[in-house]
Symmetry: C6
Amino acid sequence: MSLDAYRIETEPFFHAVGNEIAQFEAAHADRLPMMLKGPTGCGKTRFIEHMAWRLGKPLVTVSCHEDMTASDLVGRYLLEAEGTVWQDGPLTRAVREGAICYLDEIVEARQDTTVVIHSLTDDRRILPLEKKGELVTAHPDFHLVISYNPGYQSVLKDLKESTKQRFCAIDFTYPDAATEAAIVARESGVDAATAAILIRIAARSRNLKGSGLDEGASTRMVINAGKLMARGVTLGEACRIALVQPITDDPDIRDALSNAIAACA
Amino acid sequence: MSLDAYRIETEPFFHAVGNEIAQFEAAHADRLPMMLKGPTGCGKTRFIEHMAWRLGKPLVTVSCHEDMTASDLVGRYLLEAEGTVWQDGPLTRAVREGAICYLDEIVEARQDTTVVIHSLTDDRRILPLEKKGELVTAHPDFHLVISYNPGYQSVLKDLKESTKQRFCAIDFTYPDAATEAAIVARESGVDAATAAILIRIAARSRNLKGSGLDEGASTRMVINAGKLMARGVTLGEACRIALVQPITDDPDIRDALSNAIAACA
Amino acid sequence: MSLDAYRIETEPFFHAVGNEIAQFEAAHADRLPMMLKGPTGCGKTRFIEHMAWRLGKPLVTVSCHEDMTASDLVGRYLLEAEGTVWQDGPLTRAVREGAICYLDEIVEARQDTTVVIHSLTDDRRILPLEKKGELVTAHPDFHLVISYNPGYQSVLKDLKESTKQRFCAIDFTYPDAATEAAIVARESGVDAATAAILIRIAARSRNLKGSGLDEGASTRMVINAGKLMARGVTLGEACRIALVQPITDDPDIRDALSNAIAACA
Amino acid sequence: MSLDAYRIETEPFFHAVGNEIAQFEAAHADRLPMMLKGPTGCGKTRFIEHMAWRLGKPLVTVSCHEDMTASDLVGRYLLEAEGTVWQDGPLTRAVREGAICYLDEIVEARQDTTVVIHSLTDDRRILPLEKKGELVTAHPDFHLVISYNPGYQSVLKDLKESTKQRFCAIDFTYPDAATEAAIVARESGVDAATAAILIRIAARSRNLKGSGLDEGASTRMVINAGKLMARGVTLGEACRIALVQPITDDPDIRDALSNAIAACA
Amino acid sequence: MSLDAYRIETEPFFHAVGNEIAQFEAAHADRLPMMLKGPTGCGKTRFIEHMAWRLGKPLVTVSCHEDMTASDLVGRYLLEAEGTVWQDGPLTRAVREGAICYLDEIVEARQDTTVVIHSLTDDRRILPLEKKGELVTAHPDFHLVISYNPGYQSVLKDLKESTKQRFCAIDFTYPDAATEAAIVARESGVDAATAAILIRIAARSRNLKGSGLDEGASTRMVINAGKLMARGVTLGEACRIALVQPITDDPDIRDALSNAIAACA
Amino acid sequence: MSLDAYRIETEPFFHAVGNEIAQFEAAHADRLPMMLKGPTGCGKTRFIEHMAWRLGKPLVTVSCHEDMTASDLVGRYLLEAEGTVWQDGPLTRAVREGAICYLDEIVEARQDTTVVIHSLTDDRRILPLEKKGELVTAHPDFHLVISYNPGYQSVLKDLKESTKQRFCAIDFTYPDAATEAAIVARESGVDAATAAILIRIAARSRNLKGSGLDEGASTRMVINAGKLMARGVTLGEACRIALVQPITDDPDIRDALSNAIAACA
């Protein structure tokens, strides 16, 4: 079971905002553990897919969650007819075979998953499989990358300081309006003028962040609106379906967003 | 084990209130993940059954609950005589074979179930079976749909913002009185006049929402009352059994509802 | 393993207070899901046993509790010598073979058990065995009935509104004094005069409900007192053992009940 | 595996305080479920052992605790070489073979254990083994008895009202001083005068209940002090070791108890 | 697998402070359950080892902890090639074969472990193996001993009153200065003068208990300091490493202890 | 499976600040249990690797975490074709074969892991494998070492006093500026002048500890910044990526750190 299925064949579209590509390449050269920081839907996942393609490395992505344990990452024994058989988890496979391992929102996982990566993030670069009694030395190509959304953390749920200090970090945010409109036009199929209108509406939504909205409309949501319009849905309906109704049920916020749609159309 | 048992042979009755059918068809054309929003018993489940019939796709429905884990959706290893055997869960079957997968009230499930759908809701459209070490690429016909009842969410139990932003949303509510009466007459077997009386009583009940009732009588409850009457139960008894006693024990609310029944009869 | 052991051979004694038998028969004709509401020991279990006997249907009763899971109702895999074997739970057996399934105090069970019945309570009448990958269509005779004690529910522990709305409900309460005395005489073996005295004492006890007692003496407790008297225990001792000591340790309430016993004797 | 090991061959010493033996015999004649109420160490366990001996029935005693589940009472599947084999739990064995089953402090157990006994405590007298799909009808000799310490219950941890109402109850308390001294002399081997002194000290301890002690010295503790004296330990040391040091570390209470010992010696 | 490995061959050094040896022997003669009370590191474990040696009995010691269950004490089924095989836990082995069983800090364990010992601590002296369906009668030599640190208990975590009352208790505390210095010199290898200095420093530390320190330096810690000095570490460094740094990070307390070291040196 | 893979072949670089090497050697001579105390990234792990190399002992390191149980340390039964087989955990292997066992941040683990080491930290030096019924006597070379970060402990999560008292402790902190600059130059490849600048920036960061930062930049983070510069990243970008963005999202703190970078460059 090689990692070839985890190689990305075609270039994922990514529009750089700053030096993030060169910065990541420098960190990758020394395999410095990386943290990609930024809000939902601003392109962190796309960036790591682009970098994996650019660097020609397989990419093992794991979406972390509250019930994820170290065993889900590292591996476990399975009972086969001839007895128990060890099965490597996705992290162990990436460590052994030399992939970029991307742990998406690792802060969601239980503490044991964050501790299990400690010995991979200092100069030891080893992964102890304690249940198997094996010490795996990382393949020279193994590179650990995690994502982190600053807006979601709380006192109760945050990376431990001793984990944070093991990573370099690159900040991500929404691109500027012209760039984002170009992305929306390219990915949804609407024309440039329509994309610009949708971006103006999204900007209004983002201004409401903290005044009733937890987060404004992401680039992904604007692309969804564009796709609905490309299928013949009107601007107003498309914005309500893709930008408003998924994220709020508050009548006042819905009104404010409806006005924004009307004002921008 | 094909999904043919999950195909809907006969048209489920659905009375559209607005453009919801066209909107869903547009979203379905691009397989945009959909969220159906609205109160209990207003027809969300009937709508998705109707759309699955209309689009000729198998429909895999999963009622989510607090103890549901990612394994319940994705699959697990079973121990057979010849060792452990992987068994796809309902989501994986829908992903592999190209069904509409309807996750009813996904917010009830544990967090790991909401994270597991993330990679299915962006352009990757893949489902990693981490315990099996397999990446399942979604069948082109796979379409993910969830339901969401805004009245039930709380700070402690809500979809994460990063999940909400991955969906388009259509709002559902009760139909207008004439439409609802037609539905009640059709489904319960009472005549139009009786159905209209029952709808007037239900409207009174809905007006009490927030003043002692968590929710008013749903269309489904009115149909139940109609069915009892079609079996010979009196209007008063049928309304008490089907519309009042199931949802409240408060003497004042019961009195108010009794008065409403008397006034409408 | 057929359900014949679940058929009730001899008529369980039930003394109707109102139209509950006809109402239940009307609901049963359309298999409308039923909720039996009322306080402890007033005859809900006896009623459903009577109706199962009257309708000639097997009755599968499940006493729900805090640790009950959906698997306890639906079934699970057991490991046999030849590998894992699926074993239907009591609900699945009732669904497949057409029994009345009575879930006693379902509100006690974990949330997954209440969600598992949802698809059985609308017009789908199906039970998805998600772990087995099977959709069970309900036998035409399957009828779902639950009990619900309004005095026990709290904000933290109640049926979800979306569950309540799926049921019709019949209210149960204690019978009038003459009826209850007849029941007590019949079931305990004491004479009519003694039964009447015991019922007067029970009435005093029920008046204390809310003033120090969570619930007054149920019909079942009065029968217990009668049985002790039929074995030679004095009225005072029998009432203390069967009506007072089991339900309160508060000296004032015990005094009040002792006075009631003395006054009625 | 018969229940003969659970028969009590020699008469356990029990000194009746009131009519408890006749009351229990009356309840036993109809197999009315019994609750023995009273503080720690006052003789509830000895009473049920005495009654089991007197009635010639095997006695299955289960000490309940927080982690006890219904399976611990009812039974479970064990994996044997030839597959899974059902093993009856202690309650099921008592139900099948006709023993007195004594559930000591059942309120400590999880809720599912209290619900599992419900169908054994009304006229059904059946025990559904839901995991096995079997309905066990109780042996005519089966009799259910539970203990309950009123001093320990709290709002959070108490029997449900619907459970309490299924039982008759007998109160237990400490015997009068002369009786208790006779018991202490008999069981510890000290002479009557010494036993009387020890009982006076215990009475002082019981007076401190609520003023710094959760409970005063039980009869069992006084017997322990007597046994130490019979082995040559002085009165003061024996009382400190058996009556004071086990139950309090508070210097003031210890002083008060020391004074009591000095005053009575 | 006999308990010979649990016999103590050479006399463990124990310096009695009072009558504790005679008191324990009197309790042991009747196998009265014993509780050893006192602060950390004052010699409770050494005492029970000494008594086991003195009485010529094997000693089974179990360190209790939060996750310990009754099965860890009593035993469990293991799956072997020929099916499941019962394996006695340490308590069961001690009960069957007649050892002293020392449950260290039993209050740390889950409630089920404290209940499991109840029937071993009254005149029944039986251990029901409920999962195995066996009643083990204790070997005449079986003696149950537990330890209890009064400084650690809280309202949330304490032995139940009904458990405490089943035990006799002996108090332990630090020995007087001369005795303790003799112990330190003997066990660490430092001369008497150095031992006396170390004890004076420890006395200062113990005076800070409650004023910033949870507990003062135990005898064990003083022995550690002595051992470091015997290896050439200076008095100041040895005291900081063994007496100060392990138990406090508070700068003021550290200063106070440094002053104490300087003053005593 | 010998512990040879756990031997450290080449000298790990360690720059001593005080007498810590001699102190550890003295403690090691008597195998006194050691606690290494200090903040994240100041060299505790490097120190123990250096000492293991210096003393020629294998080093078994276990990163503790919230979900770690005693079984993870001690061992467990695995199901093999011929039945269950015991597998030693990492602690047991170190105890049997005579390694230094380093439990990193043991306070993170569940309580049972801290209790399991108690009998290894007094003169018994035994490890009871309770599930296996085996008493393992420690190899003479076995030495137990734990790490402890004083900045992380809280009332809710700290070592028990009875555990702390079993250890000697050595304090660790950041080295002085010249030493740290030498370390940074050596490990990252930047020249001495650049290293000195980076250390000045780190010093500013450490001054912010308690005024908005939980901890200042560790030596490890400064080395990361140096590595990025050695790959061509500018000083400003390298500091932001390695020293600022991983540990804070607070705009004011980020400004303060940016000013510090500008001031030092």
